[in-house]
Amino acid sequence: MEPEISNQSLLFLVIFVLVPLTLSYFYQLGMSKDILWSSIRGTVQLFAIGYILTFLFDLNPFMGIPLMLSIMIIIATFHAWNKGKELPHAFLVILLGLIIVEVSVLTLWLAFDMVAFTPSEVIPMSGMVIGNSMVAMGLALERMKSEFTENSGRLMAALSLGAKPSQASHLIVTKTLNAALIPNVDRLKTIGLVQLPGMMTGLILGGVAPVMAIKYQLVISLSIFSSVSLSAMFVTMAMYRYFFNKNDQLLENEEELRNQQK
């Protein structure tokens, strides 16, 4: 029998929302509206995606999978783009990066028979890859911007010593990539020890044997690790050049960055 939560039981989830609401009320955090709105929005989104997935799972995989992956990639692109809108061509770079990451990961999954080409396997697993890549790209963009601001003196010094932008930015590129990779290395180190990863938990709750669940978890964890590295690397390598103009001069503020876009 498949495990199921009854609708009546779900109603009691309101209690979980009441906790932060009460806290917000007593400590006058002014977050009640946000808490209510995000809880309702989250619930509606999840149910909506549930129905959409049910619909997609019934479709021919050659239609359902590309359709859903395209939607996920476009939404993820907009989201990550918000972190670096002022950078020229950021939207295209992120979009291209996500497509490359997803296609590479999917190709490997299918080539080595790790995942079956069915919407019920490819869509949720790709969602995790795309979501994590989106966060990695956003973080890389933010980190890169702050590193360029903080290190403008060093960059000027490097340029003045005859460095090309690629050589001058080496330090920043390294720092950005480090920052993107370290949380993932740490997560992998403690995987299963501190908390059971989400996907494995889901599979076990769904009645899958723990060892089988672990195999899936390994596939997804290492795929995420690799795609996050690739995403951060791609966006950093593609974007650092836009912090300089064609005469190897450092652009020092957002206005100069925007002007370069025109």
Binding site: G153, R154, M156, A157, A158, L159, S160, L161, G162, A163, K164, Q167, L171, N247, D248, Q249, L250
Partner: protein, 232 residues
């Protein structure tokens, strides 16, 4: 006829207006004036860390834009107010410039430390362990490693305490003399300007207000603006 090292003709941008002057070989020029006058903006035009919107800048008779940009920057070295050292050892910093074009000779390390009067034992020391003055010496050594013809100095001692500033100043004075460098320095310190400079360019609101012998400019200023600036 020998070309001047630098020649500015009607150079203007958002900050600077109509700059016209020449700088000859081995000249020691001080750029001074109130904050926001455009001194650093002007300084960064010499090695093309910035470009003007209008006008021509020639380096030894040829437009700066005709030089390969990295090559020009190696020849026109810059020392900033903060040392801005790269993470790593003193050696990593000293060899940075020459290594970029595969010209680093390991024997130069000792010589560079000698120039800036740091002991040889400092070579493998991490730059985080150095004092402010020592860091500025390493920064100067790093600039000299490229064997520049011109040295641009952007308030190189203003972030240091009085005693350390004096020491750095002595090192600078000796090196500029020994290496026959053309020096262009931005400073707020008028006493330092007199000690290190020969010629002054007084800037205000992006305009070149006075150009002459630094000693006479500071003792007998010609313009009202310079008089007021000295009194302040």
């Amino acid at each position: 006829m020998e070309h001047p090292v630098f020649q500015f003709q009607n150079v203007s941008d958002d900050i600077l207006h109509n700059m016209n002057f020449e700088i000859s070989t081995n000249e020691k020029v001080i750029l001074f004036g109130p904050s926001g006058a455009g001194k650093s903006s002007l300084l960064f035009l010499f090695n093309r860390l910035r470009d003007p919107k209008q006008g021509d800048i020639n380096y030894y008779g040829k437009p700066v834009t005709e030089y390969e940009i990295s090559q020009l920057r190696r020849k026109v070295g810059l020392l900033l107010q903060s040392p801005n050292l790269f993470p790593g050892t003193v050696l990593d910093n000293l060899k940075y410039g020459p290594s970029l074009c595969g010209e680093w000779n390991p024997d130069d390390a000792k010589k560079l430390l000698e120039y800036v009067q740091l002991p040889e034992s400092y070579l493998n020391r991490n730059v985080d362990q150095l004092s402010g003055g020592e860091q500025q010496r390493v920064s100067l050594g790093r600039t000299l490693a490229n064997s520049p013809d011109v040295l641009l100095l952007d308030e190189p001692t203003s972030a240091l305490d009085y005693r350390t500033a004096e020491e750095i100043e002595e090192v600078l004075e000796r090196l500029i003399e020994e290496h026959q460098l053309t020096m262009i320095m931005v400073t707020h310190d008028l006493k330092q300007a007199k000690r290190l400079g020969e010629r002054g360019l007084f800037l205000m609101d992006g305009e070149l207000k006075e150009d002459g012998d630094i000693e006479s400019m500071l003792t007998e200023p010609e313009t009202e603006e310079l008089k007021e600036f000295i009194q302040d």
